[in-house]
Amino acid sequence: MTGAVPVSLENFIGLLKNWLGLDVPNAAEQGQAWMVVEVIRLPRTILGAVVGSTLAICGGAMQGLFRNPLADPSIIGVSSGAALGAGVGIVLIGLLPAALTSVLQVYTVPFLAFLGGFGATLLVYKIGTTSNGSSVATMLLAGIAIGALSGAGMGILNYVADDTMLRNLTFWQMGSLSGATWEQLTFIVPVLLGIQIIMVSQAKGLNALLLGESEARHLGHNIQNLKSRLIILTALGVGVSVSVSGMIGFVGLVVPHLVRMSIGPDHRYLLPASALLGASLLLFADVIARVVISPAELPIGIVTALLGAPFFMSLLWQQRNRIG
């Protein structure tokens, strides 16, 4: 429990006692520390856990769907679409009079980010789907095209943005958990946990899908339904996650990969284990983000990449003979 305001273990135990209705002798003195935990740090921790686990599960599912261990949720355009949506939100708000800004920013940017992410994914899915079913290869290429298009859109936004907007744009793309509020969590936690549970229930189908699409059908799976479900769940999960926390890279790619390296590719274990590791990684990264330059904060996306990339590289280094 470290950060801009010091909260001691004693404070924390005091708070727990207070919650349990026990008597705490110096309650008044501890009030400020308690408030920091209750209002800022606890929601932030919960947000980190659900976002981390959702990103990791969605990454695992996309790697399975695309039968490629290097896929991540951004492959279906959801991240680039969300970035564009958020960018539009940030710039539009910046153009409005300052009085309106603070009220609007809280809701508009997440909403547009979600809309952008979900819309981009639907477009990718539509392009990749014909009456004969969805082609994973076409979706992949469409995802790349959408990525390029959003990149151009972001370029335009950067060009027209003033200094404040630019700063907001940049920070959004590096992710942060600092916006967490209880109000937000009551909506987000059930949605993301629901998505995770449905995702895990698709594990058998994902396993069969690794053999190939027709093989999965021969094993009795309706793969068209399965593919649609995986895409929509990922678009929802990642869309909601980035809308509240900005872009947090690397979790969706690295976490399922690490889990697969240690416990194998069976999705019945891979998805829940990825959720746990994703949540842990993001919480750990958040602690680092708050501590290293305290009282200021590093954007969490930088920390996840700084932590994840070298670890990933060292694993690749160790296992490069096995990968071949």
Binding site: N207, S214, R322
Partner: protein, 264 residues
């Protein structure tokens, strides 16, 4: 409706058009439980297209495929998976499952217990001579070993009669990556399954393997069935010259008497 046990797979006048080309032209053939049918023909004859139509990856422009008294597409996928085992030519699996996990995937449609599944996996691996590979990472296997593991997976899928009708085993060039000993082993397995009331359809290039193991040969050429019958009826020098453009002599096998094809 009582399933008609006499015919498991009934391909009825199937045609497939792609633009100007007729990939399949009014193809009909049947497979009954208990027999091994070999599908032969030169490259581009339409064997794989036919395979795709039968396995429901592709829709026919004309005709239909009846599997156990119902159009093959109208079966419930889960029910069908209990009766229809399909071995594709090659697999795109590139995730590091262990060999026994791959074979266990074949049991996923079955409603049997974990112990029972483990037993079937053991037996299937033993049958294809891959028990020693059990714990190996699938991605490190050779092409022939992979092919045998997938055969074991498909055999495990239809190991026992648990579906609403008789079983059908479709093998697309199951011997293409195998050494001679395992080629014979694979076809002996097909024969053994046929004896257990399974209909087996196998795409082959090796005429002598077909002659030795198949009860009936179906020769496909330019999208049409050009010959159908026992090996004695289909493997004649005239027909092979005409359909495959090879000059051959046919001699009887010195021990078993089935026709052997040797280049002239």
């Amino acid at each position: 409706m009582e399933p008609n046990v006499s015919i498991s797979l009934d391909v009825q006048g199937v045609s497939v058009r792609r633009g100007e080309h007729l990939l399949l032209d009014n193809v009909s053939f049947t497979a009954k439980p208990g027999e091994v049918v070999a599908l032969l023909g030169p490259n581009g004859a339409g064997k794989s297209t036919l395979f795709k139509v039968v396995t429901d990856g592709m829709s026919a422009d004309d005709g239909q495929v009846i599997f156990n008294d119902k159009p093959v597409n109208s079966w419930d996928l889960g029910e069908r998976a209990l009766m229809l085992g399909i071995l594709p030519q090659s697999s795109s699996l590139n995730f590091p499952f262990s060999v026994s996990e791959v074979v266990l995937l074949g049991r996923s449609p079955c409603r049997s217990s974990r112990e029972e599944n483990a037993k079937v996996v053991e037996k299937a691996l033993e049958l294809v001579d891959a028990t020693h590979l059990k714990e190996r990472d699938y991605t490190t296997l050779s092409g022939g070993e992979k092919q045998r593991v997938h055969l074991a997976r498909v055999l495990a899928q239809i190991w026992d009669e648990s579906g609403p009708g008789p079983r059908l085993l479709l093998l697309d060039e199951p011997t293409s990556a195998l050494d001679p000993a395992h080629q014979h082993q694979t076809l002996r397995i097909a024969k053994e399954f046929a004896r257990n009331n399974v209909a087996v359809v196998v795409i082959l290039h090796d005429l002598n393997l077909a002659s030795q193991y198949a009860d009936r040969l179906v020769m496909l050429c330019e999208g049409k069935v050009r010959a159908e019958g026992t090996s004695h009826e289909v493997l004649t020098p005239e027909l092979l010259k005409q359909l495959l453009d090879i000059d051959v002599c046919i001699i009887p096998h010195p021990v078993n008497g089935y026709p052997l094809v040797v280049a002239a």
